[in-house]
Amino acid sequence: MPSIHGFDMTEHVDPDPEHTEAETRGVGLAPSVIGTAEAVGVAIGDTVPEDPEGKPDAKGKIGIGGWLAISWLGLILALALLAPVLPLHDPLEQFSGLASSGPQTGHPLGTDALGRDMLSRVIWGSRASLAIGLGAITFGMLIGGFLGLVTGFFKGRVDAIVTPLMSLLLAIPQFVLALSLVTVLAASADVSDTRRILVVILGLGITTIPILGRITRANTFSWSEREFVTAAEAVGARKWRIMIRSVLPNVFPAMLSIAMLGVGLAMIAEGGLSVFGVGVQLPQPSWGNIIAEGRNQLRRAPHIVIFTSVVLFLTVLALNFLGDVISKRFDVREGQL
């Protein structure tokens, strides 16, 4: 595989780098959070000597942190879904005389530069942010996951064509790629609000294809060498059937755990795009564009940036935490055998 960095990280893969409490060499999936999914590849590519003192029973528990993360995400999701029926101000309604004012009765999170209710904007903004996070990753999972599965399972010619192409996409720093894609795609679509969100989803989704593809491929690679695959072949199961029925379920946890991080990443990336003015377009709120717009009010009304940042931070933290739990819980390490 003509890997760009010259490392073929996929030959020896531990799909779950942080499988026991502390001893593994991988940093788990952590590096991807800011966008280095390549780094994840590296972290994942290391096999690790077993720690004699390791406590294997500690893994896979959801724990207090896990439940907190689930509750937070549940709350955010519920608020996002229920936003139309909640007793909120219109996120676009401007309260005159209340511009950039802090928390007060009627406006628990204060108002923004145009006197719009911040609580309402943050809750309505979660809809756009979640749609983008979930949408982009679903898109990336479907296409990248499919390509990774097929290349890792069939190897050969498909692999020789698809994998270099994916590596190529990885040679452009991800944010630069996303920024260019969204800019170009947004220029061609006429910019209605929903369209714009779709464009951002598409741009970010394309960016995640090579990452998810690479990780899926690496995992598929090691799983497809296992005995049960040989056994299935021996009894005459068709290749595609083996791939879908035997290999995919084993690869899925690793994909899911990366996807959790990816959702957070995509939500952050949307904010980055908003800094360049190509994210979700105002006045429609998204967490990213509330923060990006709030920078103009940093001196007068820092609460706009602070509140929204905290909400975004907690959401990403919860997603990362759950991604970590999943990767520990579905200890796919036997894949090495």
């Binding site: 760009i4 959070v33 280095t36 780094a39 972290a43 000597p49 260019s180 800019t183 980055g272």
Partner: protein, 316 residues
């Protein structure tokens, strides 16, 4: 052979990346000249059109660009009335971005190495748990939000550092570093967390090996064991990841440069995208890709220098 193959890979990558970005820009609707020079006369437009080769087929235009790029001609930046070679501006902007990235790398490594080593040595104790949890939280901080929060708290509220701008180090070193603090810290926080966690788990693995036990039984001080014996074999993955994170750093630097008004490659790329300077855009992407691939190329070379075992391990 390895070196030659890598060089070939480098060239293929750069050609493919730029071809891809050219193709992408090709998809833009509308007349590019209209965007480049909205108020120009018909003659001026014809000149620009001729200059950009807009009437040529796509492949011819791309080949022309590639020929120019190889010989150092990165095309022009167009404004309403004039054009300026992209290479001029790159010469100004690239060092600024590199400074930003190098400082950030240094800051993050300067903290990550001691913290990671110490946490590994005291695995499971309070310091380890605390630093690990902190690093995990740091990974969830969006960089643009962090930039703004630092600007507000350290810049506006407590007036410790300037919130924006750039001064050359040769002009006013003190001002230069003061202005660089916030943007570099913004970029360094995420990197620190990645490096620290990585080094910690690598160190834990190394500390279980026999030669560490031997060193201990010889009565060496634990500091010497940690930093002289264990750090080097543990730093290999760190090195790789530090190379690969240049991609993240570039993305982060883009955003940070806009938020802190630092006239580097990020601001330039953003401008090129916004005003659809396709030739400039293509050249900038090519530079970024080359930079990125070169860094990883260098890391790979360093790798075998740091650990002779690698040569055997990796020939599998």
């Amino acid at each position: 052979m390895g070196l030659l193959r890598r060089l070939l890979q480098l060239i293929v990558t750069v050609v493919a990346v730029t071809f891809f970005s050219a193709l992408l820009l090709q998809l833009l609707p509308g007349d590019p000249v209209e965007v480049l020079a909205p108020f120009s006369s018909e003659e001026q437009r014809d000149v620009i059109r001729e200059d950009l080769g807009l009437d040529d087929p796509f492949v011819v235009r791309y080949a022309g660009w590639l020929g120019g790029f190889v010989t150092g001609d990165m095309g022009n930046y167009y404004t309403v009335s004039s054009k300026r070679p992209v290479s001029d501006r790159v010469a100004d902007a690239l060092p600024i971005s590199l400074q930003l990235m190098i400082y950030s790398q240094l800051i993050s490594l300067a903290f990550a190495i001691p913290v990671g080593v110490y946490a590994a040595a005291r695995k499971g104790r309070i310091f380890d748990k605390f630093s690990n949890a902190t690093a995990f939280a740091m990974l969830a901080i969006p960089n643009f939000a962090l930039a703004l929060l630092l600007q507000y708290f350290l810049g506006v509220k407590w007036q410790l550092f300037p919130t924006s701008g750039y001064t050359k180090i040769t002009e006013d070193p003190s001002m230069h570093f003061q202005q660089m603090v916030l943007p570099c810290v913004t970029l360094a926080v995420g990197q620190f967390a990645v490096y620290m966690r990585l080094l910690r788990s690598d160190m834990i693995a190394t500390l279980q090996q026999d030669f560490i036990l031997l060193a201990k039984s010889k009565g060496m001080s634990s500091r010497r064991i940690l930093f002289r014996h264990a750090l080097r074999p543990s730093s290999l993955t760190l090195l790789t990841v530090a190379g690969l994170s240049v991609g993240t750093l570039i993305g982060g630097a883009l955003i940070v440069e806009v938020l802190f008004q630092i006239p580097g490659m990020g601001l330039m790329l953003a401008e090129a995208i916004a005003t659809r300077q396709m030739v400039a855009f293509q050249s900038l992407i090519a530079i970024v890709a080359i930079l990125y691939v070169l860094v990883n190329f260098g890391v790979d070379l360093l790798y075998s220098a740091l650990d002779p075992r690698i040569r055997h391990d990796r020939t599998r």
